[in-house]
């Protein structure tokens, strides 16, 4: 693997499968009474969040702590955009403190790329969501969740990817970093991806993404093995991306009627935070097909795998030799 994780497109199929296999190993930790490994003892992981995101931040924090890393949470509220300290000066500060990995969330697309390529820091950089660009660990946890349920042989036992599985990603693709990373990673793993949105919420140039697109959710659902609903912000309405919230929900929301169009085994997913009643109804979100809560659990395992592989070397971890209780 590369030293950084900036884009889901950076991952080869071998890289991606290694992350999934490693995550599967690490996930078993969650079922143990002591959920801790000494793998990153003495290493420092900085969560550098220029944008609020409690769920992603605590997921990375839990992942790093379970690997015994020292964790520093740095909520840099003002970016250089709002005349606070610049990204560069923040990076130089963290470099001076000896961060081994910087997990960065930023409102500017490409900010993690700048951190990794300007010489401001020698740390590994992990993109925890940049603007409307990418969110690669979200894509990895989504793929991991699908893989556990949908991979041939089940529960990831057979290894391999998601060949031939059909995944529908529905909603505000234009502004979604989750959609971009998912489209890249799912294709790498061999899945067929269909992006479903009103034409206003599909990016210019999407025809070059090696995915299918559709404006009609009802026609896509019966073939899907998983359907991922994206969050849609109400403010998009004032920019005329769609006429009203109600019309959006009628045409692109996942309600129980539409859930009935899905195959028996098909999964309902959402990267969170959900807007219940907008893109997904409460009964669908809470139904037995929904793996939305499991996605959160898997997020910690996948982020552990990413931190482990970037910082501790590229081999798979050995769980047997650990004496986790002694690490702190």
């Amino acid at each position: 693997m590369n030293r950084h994780l900036l884009s889901a497109g950076d991952l080869t199929r071998d890289d991606a499968e290694l992350v999934l296999r490693t995550a599967e190993e690490l996930r078993s930790l969650a079922d143990r009474p002591i959920k801790k490994l000494p793998a990153l003892r003495g290493r420092t992981v900085v969560n550098l969040f220029f944008e609020d995101s409690t769920r992603t931040r605590i997921s990375f924090e839990a992942a790093a702590k379970r690997l015994s890393a020292d964790v520093i949470n740095f909520a840099a509220k003002g970016s250089s955009l709002s005349k606070g300290e610049s990204l560069k000066d923040t990076a130089l500060t963290l470099e001076a403190m000896g961060a081994d990995a910087i997990v960065v969330r930023h409102s500017a697309s490409g900010a993690p790329h700048r951190l990794a390529h300007t010489g401001w820091t020698r740390s590994s950089v992990i993109n925890a969501g940049d603007g409307t660009h990418e969110h690669p660990t979200q894509a990895l946890l989504d793929a991991f969740t699908m893989w556990r349920h949908l991979a041939p042989g089940g529960a990831g036992k057979s290894g391999g990817g998601l060949d031939g599985r059909r995944i529908a990603v529905v909603g505000d693709v234009l502004h979604s970093r989750v959609a971009r990373s998912n489209a890249l990673l799912l294709r790498t793993l061999g899945a067929e991806v269909t992006l479903v949105a009103p034409p206003t919420l599909l990016p210019v140039g999407v025809e070059g993404w090696d995915v299918e697109t559709s404006y009609d959710l009802d026609s896509v659902l019966p073939k899907a093995d998983a359907v991922m609903m994206l969050r849609v912000q109400r403010e998009r309405m004032s920019d005329a991306y769609f006429p009203t919230v109600r019309e959006y929900s009628r045409r692109y929301g996942l309600d129980s009627r539409r859930m009935g169009l899905l195959q028996e085994h098909a999964l309902v997913m959402h990267p969170g935070p959900m807007v219940r009643g907008m893109e997904i109804t409460a009964d669908v979100a809470d139904s037995s097909r929904s793996v939305i809560v499991e996605q959160v659990t898997n997020g910690v395992a996948v982020r552990m795998a990413v931190l482990y592989l970037l910082l501790a070397g590229s081999s798979e971890p050995t769980l047997t030799t650990s004496d986790p209780g002694a690490s702190e």
Binding site: S80, H117, H133, R180, V204, G205
Partner: protein
């Protein structure tokens, strides 16, 4: 005043000759001229001789942003690039929207003495797009403003644009429009296309430029005035200007050196050195603007030299300022993209970079032929050498050079402003 004998120079890239410059004019032309007593000899060594270049679009940043550039440093950079006249854009602080500010910039240019400075007047007060600035007062001032522009912002209000076009007819002015439909480009960061969607950078669609150009061409025809289109960047814009010209309308256009060479794929680096407005476009657009410049649809090359301090580029893309340097590399980029490719002769380069911009700006003493009795505004350009662009080697205060590390052909050996050298041996005097 010292006289200069330029030996072995090739006017417009043609046959070598000697040129005697005396009392501010070209005094003699011919093979093997003998220097008189006290005449300084400049050996051009077979370099190309062109009329001094004229830039219709320069940001000198003074008054207001003297940390980025001053009239003195900007005009040094201009001389270094072979320019003898520049038009200083109005988006300073305070904005050049009164006779007082344009006269200040004009006077600073005279005092610096590196090249003639022609201030551009703002079309609207404070570039706010609401009320016409006192265009007549600026035209009547010592700065004799003829080019008016809200550059950096578009005069998007159709009525205001119509009135401005009409009003400047009284003093033979021209409105230089920054064509950018504001609502279509809110928050825009790069060319809207295949790459903007992948990079998650908000797109600046070609139609936002083209819609304004189409409207302004029609307005210009309707009121019988003069329109100049700033930094045209798309294939569709070239077609629109070609159409306007074929109707006999008084529409001219410029292209920047960077739009002749660089493409939007550079945004994939997320390095804001490549962030500019209008944005770098596709390879097809580059091909179209080159063809438009070659066939005369695009009248001139203008630099849009836009200095920015380091910290405004050493950051994340969306936080960075728009713009790149251009004065010192313009002629090299034009040689590389237009001459070495066979699209333009050196005589046509003189037309696009000196003659036509001087005509559009109504600048009398520039863009003149290289002939006996004409003002000695000249540039000696050695087209036979190449250089690797080093951003620290500059007369500008800023370093936002998008060509850093690139190999470009040609080098300015000497520049003369009314018979006085502003650059000799490749160095600003």
């Amino acid at each position: 005043m010292t006289s200069y004998l330029i030996k072995n120079a090739r006017p417009y890239g043609g046959e070598p000759t000697d040129v005697l410059v005396r009392d501010g004019v070209v005094a003699e032309l011919g093979a093997s001229l003998t220097p008189e007593e006290g005449t300084e000899v400049v050996d051009a060594g077979g370099a190309v001789l062109l009329p001094g270049l004229v830039d219709l679009h320069t940001h000198l940043r003074e008054p207001g942003r003297e940390d980025a550039e001053t009239v003195d440093t900007g005009t040094r950079a201009a001389a270094q690039g072979g320019f003898t006249a520049v038009h200083a854009m109005a988006n300073t602080d305070p904005v050049a929207d009164t006779a007082g500010v344009v006269e200040q910039v004009w006077r600073l240019g005279r005092e610096a003495g590196h090249c003639d400075v022609y201030p551009v007047g703002a079309v609207t007060v404070g570039l706010a797009g609401e009320q016409l600035a006192e265009l007549g007062a600026m035209a009547d001032s010592a700065a004799r403003v003829r080019v008016f522009s809200d550059d950096g912002k578009c005069v998007s209000d159709a009525v205001l644009m119509r009135r401005a076009l009409e009003y400047v007819k009284a003093f033979d002015g021209v409105i230089a429009q920054h064509a950018q439909e504001p609502r279509l480009t809110e928050g825009a960061q790069m060319n809207e296309g295949d790459l903007s969607g992948r990079l998650g950078l908000r797109g600046w669609p070609a139609v936002a430029e083209e819609a304004i150009i189409a409207r302004d061409c029609l307005l210009t025809a309707h009121v019988g005035s003069r329109l100049h289109v700033c930094h045209l960047s798309t294939a569709g814009s070239v077609d629109l200007v070609r159409w306007a010209k074929s109707n006999g309308w008084n529409v001219t256009a410029e292209v920047t050196p960077h739009h002749l060479l660089l493409t939007d794929d550079l945004a994939a680096t997320y390095d804001p050195i490549f962030k500019v407005n209008p944005p770098l476009r596709t390879a097809a657009d580059v091909e179209a603007v080159r063809a438009g410049l070659a066939d005369g649809t695009i009248d001139v090359v203008a630099t849009d030299h836009a200095p920015h301090p380091h910290e405004d580029k050493d950051c994340e893309w969306s936080a960075a300022a728009f713009g790149m340097l251009g004065l010192e590399t313009a002629l090299s980029v034009v040689q590389h993209t237009m001459v070495d490719t066979g699209l333009l002769t050196w005589e046509q380069v003189a037309d696009r970079m000196s003659v036509r911009p001087a005509e559009i700006g109504r600048v009398a003493d520039h863009g003149r032929p290289i002939a006996v009795g004409e003002p000695a505004n000249l540039v000696v350009f050695d087209a036979s050498v190449t250089r690797v662009v080093d951003p620290t080697e500059t007369a500008s205060l800023s370093r936002n050079n998008p060509y850093a590390g690139r190999e470009l052909p040609g080098r300015v050996v000497a520049t003369f402003l009314r018979g006085r050298p502003t650059v000799l041996d490749g160095k600003v005097l």
